[in-house]
Symmetry: C2
Subunit: 345 residues, 2 copies
């Protein structure tokens, strides 16, 4: 039997354990997995493109566990009342090939994206950082705010989004999270005095949300929105004068902000910093950029945490995702032997 | 919501509609899909290898529907009481990226493999064929027998397997299927007088289940067992004197019987025959080989049939495989707004 965690179950798990503990455990899982980067078999994602969007399968495995995520990207979905991105995924036992966990990853993708940003910022932002500008109040924005507050104590936010309704939703959702939130009239105003700048805009084009002039010395830029070819948020100048950190360079050079730079522009992979092989921030005056695009390892980490939590809490349900005849050579017998129904239930 | 068909549901669907109608509808679906081969986006499968086995993701899409299958291959599993192969998969809407169907494909893989063999044999075996040798009485054997009987009227079987228990299971499972079954002492005895020879052995090595001498003129060989590098069942000589048909040449040259032949050995793809672009059997005396390895298109066909049948019968259950907030930009609100639980249920 396979444990199934519906979207409902994932919500319940987070509510039950509480944001505080959930974020800490997730960042811990990510830190552990990034630190053992070499133990993963990293396969490029498979993408199926259509005029309306893209559907991807992202596989990853270590010696014990195989994982994959199904995820789409359909920019016109919100006009239909649907989300731009939904996701689900599975973990399986490498030794037998049997699936262990099937779970909604729509929420989990939002969680792991924010937690990875926090993992990076813990290594790259100035330790005393308390003020974060948030440019974009879409679906990911509150996840970023909640994670940064909980794990890093970033409790002053400066939010800007051209859509006032999105800003109202942001403020409403974070009302009881102990945050001081300043609404700003535009992006340049939002970044004033910010220690960390998080960009999470949705426009699928080469935008310049942050120009070189807007970001002062010592700032850490958490660039989350630019995550596919043709979609960027930072100016080339800003990238050139910053130290850039990425998840997996071959993927980020195609999908991230650094698609604007030469193919050999020096970048540091986050795991190298987590594992202590390379330095993170070196000086208080340095400008750092985490060019986040999302990587299969992060889905693996959040799936293994969900599996742990489901076990601890007894959450989810056991489902017959794959047939299980008592005699493995007698699959056919399952069908017309009514009395064997019990074996499948 | 996504329709989930457990292993249990798949069994129930087949029992309810009956083997007769199920096999005919599945062969029809396969025929329709092979005939519109050009309308599919064919992506190579992704394989993750480990010392114990392999885990694969097999994606495929047409303009309306994306599908993928998760499938493993672990030869040592039966010693643990587990199946060598289990599978599950999903269909999704290309226009929105939302998942439509999630289903056990362990049984469905067995069904589509046998139905594809029947589709090929209908075009390649002599029309009057009534006797089939079946070499190997493993999990796939009864599916082949049942499908050939139902769709092609092949009602005389000559079965051989070195394991007498496997043969007993074969005979027992097919007891009420209107078949005349002859148990044979070895493979050469089984093929005597057979119009069609089906090889479905499990040994993962270059075996010679059928040598050139064993197969007479006019026979159609349905070679199902040889399906990965290093695993073949037919002699090179037999292949060289036969007309060989495959699913998708680039894949079969790596995985199929023809891995024994030169990379440019002429083969015909099944869809070309189905679509009327190339001839199937040309003479009663010709020896034909269908070098079956299993292809993503077949999983697509069986998934779309299961979806149709589930709808007709009201089978399966609706599950929250992905989160569905009423405001697509307000994913965060799902978590701590208890009153919104209903939206997910």
């Amino acid at each position: 039997m396979t444990t199934f965690l519906s979207a409902h179950d994932v919500c319940r798990i987070v509510r039950e354990i509480g944001f505080e503990r959930f974020w800490r455990r997730l960042v811990d899982c990510l830190e552990q997995d990034f630190a053992r980067w070499d133990s993963f078999d990293l396969t490029p994602r498979m993408a199926s493109h259509s005029p309306k969007g893209v559907i991807e399968l992202m596989p990853i495995a270590d010696a014990e566990t195989f994982g994959f995520k199904y995820v789409n990207g359909h920019p016109a979905n919100p006009a239909l009342g649907l989300q731009t991105v939904v996701a689900f995924g599975a973990l399986a036992d490498v030794a037998t090939g049997y699936p262990l966990l099937l779970a909604d990853l729509t929420l989990a993708t939002a969680f792991r994206t924010a937690a990875t940003s926090v993992l990076a910022a813990r290594l790259l932002a100035r330790p005393e950082s308390r003020t974060m500008a948030v440019i974009g109040a879409g679906a990911q924005s509150e996840f970023q705010a909640s994670a940064f507050k909980t794990v890093l104590g970033v409790d002053r936010l400066r939010i800007f989004d051209p859509d006032p309704e999105a800003v109202r939703k942001f403020v409403r959702n974070l009302a009881r999270h102990g945050l001081e939130i300043e609404r700003c009239a535009n992006a340049p105003e939002a970044v004033i005095g910010a220690d960390i700048v998080t960009t999470i805009t949705a426009d699928k084009r080469k935008a310049t949300i942050l120009s070189g002039n807007m970001v002062g010395a010592g700032v850490h830029v958490n660039a989350v929105g630019g995550d596919c070819p043709g979609k960027t948020e930072l100016s080339r100048e800003l990238l050139l004068r910053s130290k850039v950190f990425v998840e997996f360079a071959p993927q980020t050079r195609i999908e991230g902000e650094i698609q604007q730079l030469a193919a050999d522009h020096p970048v540091t992979e986050l795991w190298e910093v987590v594992a202590g092989r390379k330095p993170g921030r070196r000086r208080a005056t340095e400008t750092t950029v985490f060019d986040s695009v999302g990587f299969a390892l992060e889905d693996f980490s959040v799936m293994r945490l969900l599996r742990e939590l489901a076990e601890e809490m007894g959450a989810g349900q056991e489902i017959a995702l794959v047939a299980a005849p008592s005699d493995p050579k007698d699959l056919f017998g399952l069908i017309h032997a009514r009395q064997r129904d019990a074996e499948l239930a």
